[in-house]
Point group: C2
Chain length 116, copies 2
Amino acid sequence: MAGREPSIGMTTLGALAEQNRMNIVALLRDGPLTVGEIADKLGLRQPQASKHLKVLSDNGLVEVTAEANRRIYKLRPEPFKALDAWVKSFTSIMEERFDNLDDYLSEIQDRKIHKP
Amino acid sequence: MAGREPSIGMTTLGALAEQNRMNIVALLRDGPLTVGEIADKLGLRQPQASKHLKVLSDNGLVEVTAEANRRIYKLRPEPFKALDAWVKSFTSIMEERFDNLDDYLSEIQDRKIHKP
DNA sequence: TTTAAATATTCCTTGACGGGAATATTCAAT
DNA sequence: ATTGAATATTCCCGTCAAGGAATATTTAAA
């Protein structure tokens, strides 16, 4: 009866586990931006911005559209949806556990029994 | 009216951005476990298991209770709740954006205008 | 009190990653 | 055709994190 456990590609979390990239996606929440705009608003040098954007892009977190000279980056919903589902598989279970505290406590106590 | 944007400590994502630690928390979804049990089920050597658990513990993702010889690790709800809130600050906005597609498209088009 | 189990810690080595600087590439403007 | 803006890419370097092996520590068992 246990539903399938959502497995999240580690790439998503790995890409987000860096301050600058975290800031970038936070920025992009408010809408698409060019590389220059991102670098500006975050005080990054252009090459670093491009590099981080490449990581985000390689991991499917953002998407590019070429507009002449500029490259416009925007967020892709999918990874965040997946991440949302993954996290829920934790929060939901943990709430459930708090509900019937008895089972939880007895489970802890079981550990005290000497093994056969 | 815009709610405060949830900021997720990078420590949480950083701790989860590793396959073994990801596996550990996935295991702990089903209930508390000892170090040995975790190492067993994941095919890890005990020292590595302890190390990863230390990282998870330092970042507040798990919690220990000493039981004689054994150390029983279990998940802490808070970081996951926070992560959930953070992710929602993305998914919600992105859905909203899909709703009024017009604003979104014009926003893209604005980029074509030469700068003053 | 000696022995063994469970866990944590230390030391070492190696590979990955991020920043800096320089350079390549593409396109617009003149 | 030349110049300049916007972006990507490369190379080098320092740091940091993860794995392996060995060892220390605590506690139960004999």
